[in-house]
Structure formats: C-alpha cells, structure tokens
C-alpha cells in the first residue's frame, strides 16, 4: 500500500480479505469449542470407566467390611473412617489457625517488610508439592515428635499442607468486605478486634467457610504425603485417631490399583466411587453453607 499506487487500481480498501479473516475467526472459535468438548469427553470417559468397573462391587458389604486379601470380601470401612478422622481433625485445626492468620494479614498487618515476607511466604508454600510436606511430616511429626505413623501425625501434616489454601481463600473473603463496614463499626466506638469479630467476620463467613470445606476435600483426596509418613498399610480394624495404624481412601485405592488382577481393579474403582461421592457431598455442603450464610448480607 504505497502512496504512488496507480490510480487505475481501486482505492486501497480497509478490509482486503474480510471473508478470510472471518473464516479464521470461525475456525478459532471451533477450536475453542473443541477443547471444551475434549475436556468434557475425558471427564465423561473417566466417570463411565470408573462406574462400569466399580458399580458391580459396590454394595452395603463393601462399605461395612475392612480390606481383605480376597476382593469379594474386601471393603472400605477402615479407610473410609480413616479419611473421615483425618478430614475432621484437619478441619478443626486448619479453621482457627487459618482464619487467625488471614485476619492478621488482611486486617492488622501494616505494610511492613516483615508482613510482606509473611504474605509472600504463604503464597510460596501454596506451591510446594504435597509430597514435600510428607517429608516434613515424617521428620518432624513421626520421628522428632515421636507420634509414629498415627492419624494425628497424618492430620498435622495435612493441616500444614492446606493452611496456605485456607489462608489465601480467607484473605480474599475478608478483602471483599467493603471498607464502609469497617468505618461503620469504628464510628460506633468498636475497637479493632470488636470490629473484626462482630462486623467483618460475619460478612466474610460465606467465603471463609467455602474455602475451609474445599480445603478439607483437598485433604481427603491427598495420598502422597500420607504414604511418606507410613499410612500405606493393610489395616483391618477401625483406627484410633491418637494411636495406632491407619489408612485412608486414596491410599486404599492406590494399593488395590497396584494389584494386577481385574477383581482388584474393580474394588479399586468401587472405592473411587465412594471417594467421589464424598467429594460431591462436601462440594454440595460448600454451596449450601454459602447460600445460607450469605442470606442476610447485601451491599
């Protein structure tokens, strides 16, 4: 498109190839749709494969029996209870510590170097592979604190693992509360803690609770750190949370999936259905809690 274009040619048009450009766009849009379709297909195949393999094995006996060397008699009772114990302890520990840390970082911390360090540190911890937390738990909780391979040691390890997630979600929920809410509390003569406790926390509760429940789901689905700290065992009795051996659902799935026989793959799939159902329940709970707690909040 030079200035000396011959007059005979038509004036340079702004849209020399509109058809082609629109076609490129359509192809690109098609590729976008195809990528989503591919992901949906993968998820559907996964669910289909697990359900067809696992459903024949899934009955009441499967839920009420401990594992066994014979697939027909094996069940998930011990690992299911192990997972529940882990989930409850992790939730009970991560909730107060995580929310307290988030309150400090979002409501108290001045913009000092120390506080920026704390914040950066937490986002970096969120990126540490879970298996590294297993190594930490093995050295600190199992050996140094001499807890042994117990539910408590496992729960403490997973608490450290999910704390960054809980803290980050809670900070986001606290930051979403408008400043007018804080100023209103101060104007009524509240101290900083009274303002946080009575005014900000209730307003941020839906976001915080959702974060905690999803973090608990994450803890229940984790296997790698617990394998490192000795939960990969054959447990035929209901675990005592403070002492004694235990195992959890994902590790039970792993143990069975390692066996070459098709029957073991079947009960492994049945255990996957159990853990997916547990995840579904927790996610549903998060949605309900969110809806209930945010009924009275409007700004």
């Amino acid at each position: 498109m030079t200035a000396a274009a011959p007059a005979a040619r038509s004036a340079p048009r702004f849209e020399p190839a509109l058809m082609r450009r629109k076609l490129t766009g359509t192809i690109f849009y098609g590729a976008c749709l195809a990528s989503i379709a591919f992901l949906m297909l993968a998820l559907a195949l996964l669910l289909f494969d697990v359900l067809t393999r696992g459903l024949p094995w899934l009955d009441l006996d499967f839920l009420t029996h401990p594992p066994s060397a014979r697939p027909a008699r094996a069940g998930v009772l011990t690992s299911f209870i192990g997972s529940l114990e882990i989930g409850v302890i992790v939730g009970a520990l991560a909730f107060p510590i995580g929310v307290a840390a988030a309150i400090y970082l979002a409501e108290y911390a001045a913009d000092s170097r120390l506080n920026r360090l704390l914040q950066t540190n937490i986002s970096n911890l969120a990126g540490v592979p879970s298996i590294i937390y297993g190594i930490l738990g093995l050295s600190v909780f199992v050996r140094l604190a001499n807890l042994g391979p117990t539910v408590l040691a496992g729960a403490l390890t997973l608490t450290l693992l999910i704390l960054p997630v809980v803290i980050i979600a809670s900070i986001e929920a606290l930051r979403a509360v408008p400043d007018a809410q804080r100023e209103g509390a101060y104007a009524l003569g509240a101290s900083r803690w009274q303002m946080v406790r009575r005014s900000i926390l209730p307003a941020a509760a839906p976001g915080i609770m959702t974060g905690i429940i999803l973090a608990m789901a994450r803890a229940i689905g984790e296997a790698a750190p617990l394998i490192i700290i000795g939960a990969f065992t054959f447990v035929t009795f209901v675990p005592n949370p403070i002492s004694g051996q235990y195992t959890v659902l994902p590790i039970q799935i792993f143990g069975w999936a390692q066996q070459p026989q098709a029957d073991f793959q079947g009960i492994s799939a049945a255990a996957i259905i159990v853990i997916l159902a547990l995840m579904l329940i927790l996610n549903g709970l998060a949605i309900i809690v969110r809806a209930r707690l945010s009924r009275h909040i409007q700004w």
Binding site: L46, D49, Y108, I253
Partner: protein
C-alpha cells in the same frame, strides 16, 4: 477520671494486644513451616552427600537405588520428570488457553455456568483417580491400540504426561481466564472500532495484554506437573532411565520417593537418605518456578487504570 487526664494517645487495652499477638503467631506459622522444610531437607541431604559425591549425584545419568550395584545419578529421575512435564504442557497449554479464551471472550452467562463446573470438577478429582484412569483406560484402550502393543507398554511417560496434562489444564484455564478478564473493555472496543474481527481482537489485543498472567499460569502448571505424585506413580512405571522417548517407561522424582516409602527400606540406609536428596532437588526446582512465576507477573504486568 478528670477531664484533664484524657489524652488522645490512649493505650490499647491488654486484651486487644494479646489478640493481635496471637493472630500474628498464626500468620508466622507459615514461616516456621518453610524453615522446617528447608532444615529437614538440608540436614538429611548433607548426610547423603557425605556418602555420595554431589558431582556424581547431579551429573550421573544412571539411577539404581534398590538394585545392586547402586548408582545415584539423579538426571535419570529428572529427565523422567521433565519428559512427563513436557508432554503434560503440550496437552494442557493449548487446551487450557482455548478453554480460557472461550470462557473469557466468547461464552455467555449460561454457557459459563455449564463449562466452569466441568473445569472445577476435573480440578477437584483426587489425582489418584486420574492415575487409575490412565492405568485402566488410557493405556489399554487408547495408547496401545493406537500405537501398537509392541511399541508402547502399560507404563509409559506418554501415559503419565496425558494424565498430568488433564489435571493441570483447569489450572491454566482458570488463571488465564482471570488475566483475560482483567483486560479493560475499552481496549477491545477500540480494536473493534478499527474494524478488527473478534479473533483479531483476541489475538492482537487481549492475548498480549494478558500475557503476564498467561505466562504465570503456564509456569505454575509446570511446577504443579513436576510435583505431581499419585497420577504419575500408577502410569509411568518404576524404571528410572535417562531417555526422552515418550513411549518408554520412566520414573519421576516423586514416584521414586513413593517407591522408597512403600518398600521395606531401612531408615538409616543410603537409599533411604537418597529420598531426601531427591526431595530437595524437587523442592528447589518447584520453588524456582514459583518464584519465576511471581516475578513474571510483577515484571510484565501492564497496569490499567
């Protein structure tokens, strides 16, 4: 209290100060965790290096911790890890970015309410389930019929890479979508006003403007793939080897750590100590990537106001 004694600089009540201290302690627990991780890894790794030369460890390409003669060349595990990670990224980057564009630029509200939960479901599935899927479905029903059972075994880096790719796709999609949404509407409208098509707006305006966030998402996904454990343990096998052939069975750093942990390895033995040296290598690699992703966001962020 007389009026004269009232000052504006009043001391905060003791209860308030105690609460602030307690909240600070909770926040500082994170630093303790970090220090704990570094101390544990450093201490045990030094013990390991007293017996095995660090030069052999970092430059050797043969890893045989459980079968005599022992050899601790971590490159065999690192290459397995990077091979799986590379395959995962080849799958996840296009899939994740296209999904992100769809969500951020094309999708209406109704479409989003269908697609977002699908991505979140994939992200929330325990990774052991994806490993099971790779072992029982992808290998026997897709890879082996497609490539020929003679060419690829049940366990392969390709299988592991596909599974890990599926599981990091939602991560790339969701961070990239946020980055694209943060691009101001006015920039798109400016481009439309100049006659650009929708695709040209996405490619020449939105994508460059969101590039820092997109790059950060890819780096984070890479770090996640390197540290992924359960999906890999069931799919890549237990054969540490220095290879870049995706059809080969390999062993990743994480899979080795699991293998040592479920075996009957004596706690003071050199192969047990190697677990910490491998863990330290993994930790340094993922930490470097996480710091890099933070730096990319800060360095290349385009501010809009």
């Amino acid at each position: 209290m007389s009026a004269a004694s009232i000052t504006l600089t009043h001391r905060r009540p003791i209860g308030e100060r105690i609460i602030e201290r307690l909240l600070f302690l909770a926040a500082a627990l994170g630093v303790l965790t970090t220090l704990g991780i570094i101390a544990v890894l450093a201490f045990e790794t030094v013990e390991f290096f007293l017996q095995i030369s660090p030069i052999d460890f970092f430059t050797g390409t043969r890893w045989s911790a459980l079968i005599k003669p022992q050899s601790f060349g971590v490159l065999a595990l690192v290459s397995g890890t990077l091979l799986v990670t590379a395959i995962a990224l080849v799958i996840a980057v296009p899939l994740g970015l296209l999904a992100a564009v769809l969500l951020a630029e094309y999708a209406g509200t109704r479409f989003r309410t269908i697609v977002k939960p699908i991505l979140e479901t994939i992200a929330g599935v325990p990774t052991i389930v994806l490993g099971f899927f790779g072992l029982n479905f992808i290998a026997p029903h897709i890879l082996r019929p497609l490539l020929g059972a003679d060419n690829i075994g049940v366990f392969s880096a390709l299988n592991g890479g596909i599974v890990v790719g599926l599981l990091i796709t939602p991560l790339i999609a969701s961070i990239s979508e946020d980055a694209m949404r943060a691009v101001p509407r006015g920039m798109r409208e400016g481009a439309f006003a100049m006659g650009a098509t929708k695709f040209e707006v996405v490619r020449k305006v939105v994508f460059p403007a969101a590039l820092s966030g997109i790059m950060a998402s890819v780096i984070l996904a890479m770090s996640r793939a390197i540290g992924e454990t359960m999906a890999v343990v069931l799919t890549v096998g237990t054969k540490p080897q220095f290879t870049f052939d995706p059809t080969e069975s390999v062993q990743t750093m994480t899979a080795f750590i699991v293998q040592i942990s479920i075996g009957e390895t004596a706690q003071g033995s050199i192969e047990f100590k190697s677990l910490f040296a491998v863990g330290a290598t993994l930790f340094v690699m993922t930490l470097a990537l996480n710091l890099l992703s933070g730096w990319v966001v800060r360095r290349f962020r385009t501010g809009y106001s």
